[in-house]
Amino acid sequence: MAEIVSLAEGVAELVNDGDTVALEGFTHLIPFAAGHEIIRQRRRDLELVRMTPDVVYDQLIGMGCARRLVFSWGGNPGVGSLHRFRDAVERGWPTPLEIEEHSHAGMANRYVAGASGLPFAVLRGYTGTDLPKHTGNIKPITCPFTGEVLTAVPALNPDVTVVHAQRADRAGNVQMWGITGVQKEAVLAARRSLVTVEEIVDSLDPTPNQVVLPTWAVNAVALVPGGSHPSYAQGYSVRDNEFYQSWDAISRDRDTFGTWMEQHVLDVRRDA
């Protein structure tokens, strides 16, 4: 049974220094507010996992929360580079960032294996690319029936996965819809999970393309309206494309970044 908690409580309880943490979301439903709370609570040495680390991971990395990043595409979608990510990889600022790099297909299947209680997944992937030269977690596997050689990747089982969803009911059942990416897999693969939601309602009316996470598969739910901004929650908000574009200038310079984070994240208390 999921507990209904405040965002601060949820992060304090579920996210520890040194954890492997996945804040998933495929452009849609990215849990920005939870990422900001992790920054405010000054978590350190996190192994951050995500298919598409974008602005919120740029912020976590720039604020020194991460020691390692496991990912498949690290950019500001439609805009360009993540400058804090690049600064950490290229110049080790504010701390060196170790990276483990995959393709989307590989990462998605790693979550699927994690959610399935399997130690690995099989795919047609990475073939011919230079990724296996630098990522140890990619190995060949032979089909026991046909002899064909395919690719294996190990399961991903984050210590904690955080996602944002449209709604939960008072029992803690979670409902999301629209583009739901790998959110279900990332939650089921994790040892612990925290879901921030736009709304807590009496009952969840079914919606097309819904993904429902039963309360017994989630640890904690926190009410955080707008918790995915500048990403969006279909039916509740639209993507703030302008913010993503403005992030390029904000994040290019270490000081500008630091000032922005102070004003917009550190000095903000969501639960005040």
């Binding site: 495929f26 452009t27 849609h28 298919m51 598409t52 990912f71 498949s72 595409w73 690290g74 950019g75 979608p77 439609g78 805009v79 580079s81 993540l82 990510f85 690049r86 990889v89 290229e90 790099e101 995959h102 393709s103 989307h104 297909a105 998605a108 299947n109 979550y111 699927v112 795919l123 047609r124 992937g125 990475y126 073939t127 011919g128 690319t129 230079d130 990724l131 030269k133 630098h134 064909e148 050689v149 629209g178 583009i179 739901t180 990416g181 790998v182 279900k184 897999e185 393309n209 993904v211 969006y232 279909q234 639209v238 993507r239 703030d240 494309n241 302008e242 993503y244 574009q245």
Partner: protein
């Protein structure tokens, strides 16, 4: 002759023309998305756009900024999970065309979107990385590449193979067991390159109106071979330009509203 269109517009139009009506196209964001949406709005109304966010058959009336914009889910025939789009739709070879961009491309159509210069651990420029591209390049029946041409981007050998083209030449793709045919055409702001059937090397087959072989050679980091029957592309038609500009205007208007 003064042109009333830009080389970027010509590139987008030439890319759109490559897409056949009724085919299914796995679309990356940026130039590929613009060209694919132009094709759908002109000669290929039944072009099926597939975005890696899980939107199958998206029909946006403006250009999405990201592969996960709400307009894609709202207009899609089906929205599926990200594992499903890769495992059930891309991997078995159900997608006709993979439409990719890149930061570096080499003479054998290998693409780099990972890192440039230095070494992997300490690159000069760290790029976003692979995303869906390696498996799009491997599994789609064919691949179309769209990239602005320059000596910095069209290189002898990519610094990092993110997406496999023809490797080091004939037979490499087959030896790896890749099922798709690989890059069949590369559209640039100067013209079109296609792999030579025997050497697999990218060869200049078309120039855009106004572009020259000398420009193309100067913008290529390897000794560019020019096809014997080099042709010149049709300039953008009035209709193509009108639709392309309307798409961009709708997109800009939408962003201004969103930003307002």
């Amino acid at each position: 002759m003064s042109q009333d269109w830009t080389s970027d517009e010509m590139m987008t139009v030439a890319a759109a023309r490559q897409l056949r009506n009724g085919s299914a196209c796995f679309v990356g964001i940026g130039l590929p998305s613009t060209a694919a949406n132009l094709a759908r709005a002109t000669h290929a109304p039944r072009l099926v756009l597939i975005y890696e966010s899980g939107c199958l058959g998206a029909k946006p009336d403006r250009l999405p900024l990201s592969i996960g914009d709400g307009i894609l889910a709202d207009t899609a025939d089906a929205v599926v999970s990200v594992p499903e789009v890769f495992n059930y739709w891309l991997q078995p070879g159900n997608i006709d065309v993979g439409f990719l961009g890149g930061a570096q491309l080499d003479r054998y159509g290998n693409i780099n979107t990972t890192a440039i210069g230095g070494d992997y651990a300490n690159p000069k420029v760290r790029l976003p990385g692979a995303g869906g591209a390696p498996e799009i390049a491997a599994s789609c029946r064919e691949v179309i590449v769209i990239m602005r041409q320059s000596p910095r981007t069209f290189v002898e050998r990519v610094d990092f193979v993110t997406s496999y083209g023809y490797g080091s030449g004939p037979g490499d793709r087959e030896q790896l067991g890749l099922r798709g045919a690989g890059p069949q055409v590369v559209i640039t702001d100067l013209g079109i390159l296609r792999p030579d059937p025997s050497t697999r090397e990218l060869v200049l087959t078309h120039l855009h109106p106004g572009a020259t072989v000398e420009q193309a050679r100067a913008a290529t980091g390897w000794a560019l071979v020019v096809a014997d029957d080099l042709r010149t592309n049709e300039p953008p038609s009035e209709a193509e330009l009108t639709v392309l500009r309307a798409l961009k205007a709708a997109t800009d208007a939408d962003r201004t509203v969103a930003a307002g």
